[in-house]
Amino acid sequence: MNSLIFRTMAPILATLMVLFSIVVLLRGHNDPGGGFIGGLIAAAAAAMSGMAFGVGAVRRTLRFNPIAFAGFGVLLGAVSGLLSAAFGVPFLTALWLPANLFGVPGVFDIGVYFAVFGTLTAVVLALEDNGEET
């Protein structure tokens, strides 16, 4: 896209969106937000960057294939559930650190974040890629 305003604003907006998505992810347990919505915001950032600087630049910035992020997310969710095996409680039981600051649900939510972000980014980038590279 050749709009100068868009190209100038895009990096700032994208950075803000990614930061905001992380805030949304982390505060989700007590306030509106969470992994799903955080992942959506981050994917929107990736989609916008793709339009502004081209898909190749976004792919290089991400370093890994976006679908690998999704796989990592699902894996993280599953592994966070398996932790319960060490304590002899059922799969995906919520385990908490002392003082209930952080626990399995938080790790699981991060997994959701990555799964949503990875999948949507992969799809959007593949669509934006006008047949140059997939």
Partner: protein, 790 residues
Amino acid sequence: MALDFDTFAILLLLAPFGAAAFASLLARGAGRAAGWILAVVPAGLCFAFLSLVDDVAAGTAVRFAIDWVPVLGLRLSFLVDGLSLTFALLITGIGAVIMVYSGAYLHGHRRLGRFLATMLLFMGAMLGLVLADSLVALFCFWELTSVTSFLLIGFNHTHEAARRAAFQALVVTGAGGLSLMAGGVLLHAISGTWDISALASSEGLRHAGAAYPWVLGFIVVAAFTKSAQVPFHFWLPNAMEAPTPVSAYLHSATMVQAGIYLLARMSPLLAGTPLWQGLLCACGGATLLWGALSALKQVDLKRMLAQTTLASLGLLVLLLGLGGEGAAMAVAAYFVAHALYKAALFLVAGVIDHGTNTRDITALGGLRDQMAVSFIAAGLAAISMFGLPPFLGYLAKEEMYAGLRFDDAWAVLTIAVMVVGNALLGAVALALVIRPFLGTLKPTPHTPHEGGIALLLGPVLFGLLGLGVAFAVSSYGDLILAPMASAIHGARVESHLPLAIDVLGLPFWLSVVTWALAGLAYWRLDAIRASLLAVERRFRWSFDTGFDQLMFGLIRFAGAITRTLHHGRLELYLVIVFAAFALVVLVPLAALRGWPELPRFAPMTFYEWGTVAMAAVGVAVVVGARTRLGSIVALGIQGLAVSLIFLLFGAPDLGFTQLMVETLSVVILALVMTRLHLSTNDPRPLEDWARDGLLALICGGAATALLLRVLQGAFDGRLSNFFAENSVAIAHGHNIVNVILVDFRGLDTLGEISVVMTAGIAILALLRRQHKREPLPDRPKRAPRRKAAA
């Protein structure tokens, strides 16, 4: 942890499966010794079973069981009675010899390890099948024998014939497996138990009325497919494509005998009705004659033997159909005799093939000096098959004839069929040993040489057993045959094996007639073969080609169905999906008279009106927009209004998510449009537009009606209250929605993110496919022509 008896027994039963895991390693490391080492497992099991013979003969069946799925009341129960013990002895005994034989027969073969492993798996499955008391276990092992025999028959998978034979065997026996499952489920539904030994008495079942013919039909189809009875017989001769040890094992005591086992096991429950007698006698008799005649037609040693197996199976089915004490005894005697001589003869055929590189009896002759041991072993087995006293085969034939009476026309026909069948089998027995071994020596592709000890162990052992048992007739009858016959008959059977030849009795004279006819048939063998082949040439169609026609027909049928349902026109798919949705919602509402009443609306504030107006404008633009891009953007406006509604009514999380989803939807839809090079305008003709619009209205109306109906029902607050109370207390989170997602229903979410990822991968695959400039799957070549027609 101390092993209790049940666990120990089941571990023993699983030993062949365990040994299979090491087969590949042994084949690589131990070379020639691999067969001998692996044979230890079945041999050990065989001795274990031998130790049970006395107990079982005394009438105490051995039982063991473990819980499988206690919630469903499923228990893996096993029973060792006379019937299963005889089978188990032969399976493990012949199995041990076959392992030794295979190690030598396939020595140096690249895939020897895989072969031995599959053999052991098959052996374990077969053993489980005959010992299982639970119908569920029986079915599982039954299917396992089908699968492993598929692998064994198709072992030479580079040959097309072997692949076809394996496929054919799998299809036929697999269909039988389904039938067995249906029969088992029906039996369970009638009786309420899975254990065969606990099933209601035969009287109860026969009085089950309408269910009885169904149970009988399912069980009989299962048994007939496995035991290759007419009209399912065609797969067995083709299974000859397997290596010789497989044939020897499959034909003697396993696989095809599983059907006989099933019928024998079920005979106390199902036998004795005209339907049982008619089905089994007709098909058994037909198979007996068909197999015996087909055997005379062949010149290949293995094919001849395969056809005689058909005949023998038919004979066993015929005897089971006749029923009664004498027939049960005859089944037991013939089963054992046949297993021993058939294994021996197959193994000798393998030795001849190994030594001369041909199996054609017209090309073989005079091997008696070069292959003396094989000659003796084959001779012993063939005499048993021919039925000369005092061999096992003679005893079996006497038992068969002893039970017969010239009562009516049917009985006479049965006797005639049996005598002719036995005579033809006798003729084949003569041909099998006289043609290759006697006469003048003929040149063969290889200079004939005798096999090694591993190859000759089996034939000699089985040949001698067929003779040696005759010297212990009374204990053989009491310990092996009578318990087996009792299990088949369902009541105690005493052994009455003849200790001396009764020259005045009818059975002896029937035997004499049989021998005479056999001699006659052998004398005219070549003439008979020529005329049989001439008849065969007259008929173009055979069951084998019928199978092919059935398969091709099935494929064509499936293709036609797929083309009809999977026409590749995306818009029609969508129409069907949405129409189905409307039906699913509207039909129950109409049928149950659940139409909602029109609600009374509370007065709305100006910003609520504003939001509704925004949504309405969005929809209006979607419908009215001239370009697709306009529609997509307008869809975003409508979505924004919906997320505002969520926000206004106290669902910030939902509103938040909806907003992002709508944003990304617009982006993705726009991208899809450019990516697929869709035209910016909507090219739908008016009638399509009207159809889609009507459907949209109906779907929207249906969803609205459903939602109103739901809201008018009483609200069940149990779940909401639970979450509200426990969100902070248990899950330490104030955002209930998030706590539900990641904690209370974490498993659901895990499933959902997996689905999200999988969908992403699928989309990538579709896009990549399009990128390669292949034709899109949803644009068939036929589509334009149809449009033109419309």
